[in-house]
């Protein structure tokens, strides 16, 4: 694994997005970050933070997922279309979860 340098191409990133090769060094850093994230999640779950416990857990999970998407899945180096595609997926997911939950949470409104 000699080639630790990220290979940059002369082309426009838009056009030749797929050609970008991420170096193993980046992958190793991400791996480290993910492992640290896991450790923090586990540690955080043993702390008493009241309503913040799930928030912290989800926030760390989101951060980890973002790292995986950006680097392992090369979205950072991909075209706008790809970024938009991922965004659309997350958006629709949030619609499903958010709007369903809105019904459940608002059912109790006016009941107290």
């Amino acid at each position: 694994m000699a080639d630790l340098q990220t290979e940059h191409h002369e082309h426009e990133p838009e056009q030749h997005a797929e050609d970008h090769i991420v170096s193993p060094a980046v992958y190793a850093v991400i791996l480290g970050a993910l492992l640290i994230g896991t450790a923090i999640t586990i540690a955080a779950s043993y702390l008493e933070m009241g309503p913040w416990n799930p928030v912290v857990a989800i926030a760390i999970a989101c951060a980890k997922a973002t790292l995986v998407v950006l680097f392992f899945m090369h979205i950072k180096y991909s075209s706008k279309l790809m970024k938009l595609t991922v965004g659309a997926g997350v958006f629709t997911f949030l619609i499903l979860v958010g709007m369903s939950l809105s019904d459940y949470f608002s059912r109790a409104w006016g009941q107290w």
């Binding site: 190793a28 999640t41 008493e48 899945m73 997911f93 979860v97």
Partner: protein, 248 residues
Amino acid sequence: MSDSHAIAAAGEHEVHEEHPPYLRHHFVSMEQQTETTSFGMWLFLLTEIMFFGGLFTAYLIYRNWYYPAFVAGSHQLDIFWGSLNTLLLICSSFTMAMGVWSAETKRHKGLVWSLIGTLILGIGFLGIKTIEYTEKYEKHHIPGHNFDWKGFTNPTQEEIAKGDKPLAPDMAQKTEVYFSLYFAMTGMHALHMIIGIALLCGMLFKALRGGYMDGHIAFVENFGLYWHFVDIVWIFLFPLLYLISRHQ
């Protein structure tokens, strides 16, 4: 998305003359083909996001309704196995990324070893999952006719020492909802792992025979995307299922 990929397009004959071996007939250039397949893979991953989305919605609603049951159910899971599995899966994601890199840079040995590593880690994950499922089976925590919630109304001394409180019977019954979701979510995830491992075996077989060294690595790249996606799902499942209120 620009139209740049096609601007240089010319007549059929011209294209056919310089036809790379893996270029399908309906693409103008290799580059267009690679971009296209990876875009297609991403769209497929979007459907996967929504597929798990239904489960996450259900999870969030019931967690809110039956929080004590979710805490008690979650405490039945072994945090050691869960953490180890997270570790395995993250490492397998790394080895897979290395596999893609090896393929990109045409390192045959690197690719083979990365794939073997990914395979071993993936199988390890499933092995641990089997251990956990077996334990659930023995404890009658698999939802359905054999489900037994009585244990949650009077936890063992050991469990009480760890901070578990006895649940009222009506709440103890709701642990079945927790375990239904646990098995639906981890089961769907494990199913994706099994499919992934099957594909991985095929890919490894081809790599051993010298495949993917000619620059046509779309399959490796797209499988990588799939594998990372499965990893991401687990990144969310782990805190949601294993780490509910561990501080109690």
